[in-house]
Symmetry: C3
Subunit: 334 residues, 3 copies
């Protein structure tokens, strides 16, 4: 049984297989490839693109999605082994996951970082509890550590735009925000781009380092695929000659800023990192702009970048549909 | 591409076409007319009839609906061009609308008045932003200015009850409520009834005027269809000889009452406007009673009116299904 | 038209018919037995198993479910005849139920106890209002008095585990909790087990009596089926030689404890009632453990019981699917 809750579940070969299938099926609709199949979608956090695109995948493939909003329509779930459940979590994933597995053919889980810090995010306890106790394949719809479907959609967009991702110079640049965001999306772009063989440049202010385990994993993919990864605190340097600029905000490490006031001050001090046309001017002439969405216009990215012809953000979001269809087929061994 | 977010998108001819089709298909089910088609339904506000009836239309026609509750299950959306998005609206409709358009074949939007006043309601910014940026047809499930599907269901109910709507005397009467309500429903009844050729009498207390632009539009429809529209502050006068009594509450104009206390006092002072059998006794002997639902019994309308054989409110709600099926077909050029 | 909102709607013969059908179809999938049929599911309270299992039943049988979360996505509903609706309940079930009946082929309703006390729970006003005004069959997804689908799933699990339920010694034991819970589940286990001919032993602390009307109804079923029912305050005594231990918490009677402080103190004083392996050791060697889920681990039931091979809780939850499919078919006369 194949779970996919992290890029590691695919590896560079799986990433290549999914991207190729997604590209092929985007040109020629495979029709009802999941006839009568049910995907149970459990949302601990809200969603627009993910929910709609997964449900559309299932419906257009002849299957169905059952959507569960945990914490709004449903009670909160416990993931800790041995917990004495005397607080607000009314059900353990040890029951919820196998029970849901009885009713559906696949489980999709969305569960953001619970704010317990970098090591808890790395351990990713909620989605791993579902994975451990499920008796059907589990797919991530974004968890604390990764958002693999986003990473795959990003890579497909690069591939479509430039023909190949091999040795493609791409820049992942930190961007400002009103609050510290999880690192699942930058982690997934880094891992997917490395697995796809890109020359990845990562630019962020000091103190916003990605987790060492994620960086080590990306490094291993780059080695295997002929890609490379460099890190810098100099945004302009990272942009020079780049073919794709991927902007995303994320929060500082715990050592960098520990109080909300410190974090807010830190974020405010880097408002100059918001991509504008000036920034895009440093990159290659044909450079594409990418962002996972949702984007806070004129805070995270300037209107002039998002509204420019080089922005691929809507196509990138549309590719969520295509990579997810191919990914579910890959998980089902198709 | 045909959007329908206001009666103006149909005009009297479109209204006639949709009502005829709805009536015909009510007698003879057309079967799977939307095979495999997906309707994305975005709710900024709650819904019972609208959600269920649209989803039933899609499912019984061989398609599907994907339901998104924005603000509960999903984040809040921004509609203002050039906004610096540093507050609670995490995504711009400029992204959300084209992205959703990638996943579905039609978009339904429900977005009530945001309480910004009569001119903002007339401008209807949220649904117009969706309409502007969508790449698939957009249908209104009620917005600040209009609720066209309700107006069409009202007109179909009149047509079924009396054979024709041409020169049919009908009364739209204001009714009491515990709070000021939006004007989308009275606007839509007025516009639909005028487009269907009725002799419309509108009765409301002083200071509850409908927007001049809506009244002018209704007047133009009446001219084109041989109908007529009159306004009065005398409820009894408006009821005499009327064949249908349509009760609905709405709020006063900004000039009439600007503070919540003023509005509450004003609403309380008109509790005598609640339709009772005494009121129905003024109308024609065979007069039908209509209301869009939900209705606050014994506040907005008396039990004795709602429970009387002349009440058509459940049939009227049931007609939402029939007009929506015909409307979506009309939008798709069928 | 057959409604099923209580075991009484089935009676012992109906229970037997549904269990037999469920067992048969569990071995051999009947396929698309509800082609194109729509089940409208109205949730006044959250759900995980119920929602997923009913939706899965409809989808796998060729139909669909339309899910309405009342009070979150939809407004609150009024059930009282003659109410002056000037508070937070914006729509009467007298309208909502017949209107929803226009759009769907069956209605499922979940509405927990409203906390109005034992007699209000016995009267079960909300689901009975839906039942009264619906023009399509209504099925309970748990109401104040009963949770018949849970009771049927419990009985099917006993039948599968032991071959027959006739004269099977089973124990319904009260269990601790952090708050007083409704009695719908213990009521339904008692009624279903009695209707299935079990020898039921009910153990609970003093002051936690089930309603006299429920006990009288169960007694009548036991008489008809050759079963029996005994009540005790001695948990150990009730366990001796029992083949199945069904643990469930519920609140005290109003006479026993009327203030939240009294109730909390009372619940805390009975923490020793939490089933452990010591308790299971009193029962028969092959005794099965059952619980309706969700369960608060190490508060209501010890990990060592839930994680033991004798626990059937996941199978029991999985049986919700099977009994519900058979029940809907029975209601439709199939």
């Amino acid at each position: 049984m194949k779970h996919v809750t992290r890029i590691q579940d695919l590896g560079p070969e799986g990433v290549e297989a999914v991207l190729s299938q997604a590209a092929a099926w985007k040109l020629k609709d495979p029709g009802h490839i999941f006839p009568g199949k049910l995907l149970g979608m459990v949302f601990f956090n809200p969603s627009l693109r993910t929910r709609t695109s997964f449900e559309a995948v299932m419906l257009r493939a002849g299957g169905h999605a059952i959507v569960l909003d945990v914490g709004s329509g449903v009670w909160k779930l416990e993931d800790r082994p041995g917990a004495v459940m005397n607080a607000d979590r009314a059900e353990h994933i040890k029951e919820a996951s196998p029970v849901l597995s009885r009713f559906v053919d696949m489980l999709g889980i969305r569960t953001f970082s619970q704010g317990g810090g970098d090591e808890e995010d790395e351990a990713d306890p909620v989605i791993n509890a579902f994975r451990k106790w499920a008796t059907v394949p589990v797919v991530s719809m974004e968890s604390a550590r990764e958002h693999p479907c986003q990473g795959l959609a990003d890579a497909l967009t690069l591939r479509e735009t430039f023909g190949t991702t091999k040795k493609l110079p791409v820049t992942l640049t930190w961007a400002p925000h009103i609050k510290p965001l999880p690192k699942a999306v930058p982690n997934s772009f880094l891992l997917s781009a490395a697995a796809a063989g890109c020359e990845v440049r990562v630019a962020h202010p000091p103190g916003f380092d990605l987790h060492p385990a994620v960086r080590a994993e990306a490094e291993a993919y780059a080695k295997a695929t002929g890609g490379s990864i460099t890190y810098t605190h100099d945004q302009d340097e990272a942009l020079v000659g780049s073919r794709a600029v991927y902007a995303k905000s994320w929060g500082p490490t715990a050592q960098t800023a520990s109080t909300p006031t410190d974090v807010a001050a830190l974020l405010a001090s880097y408002s100059g990192w918001m991509p504008t046309r000036r920034h895009m001017g440093k990159a290659a002439k044909d450079a594409a702009f990418l962002h996972c969405l949702p984007v806070r216009r004129n805070v995270e990215v300037a209107d002039e970048v998002l509204d420019h012809a080089s922005s691929r953000v809507v196509d990138e979001a549309g590719n969520r549909y295509h990579v997810q269809r191919a990914l579910l087929a890959w998980m089902r061994g198709g």
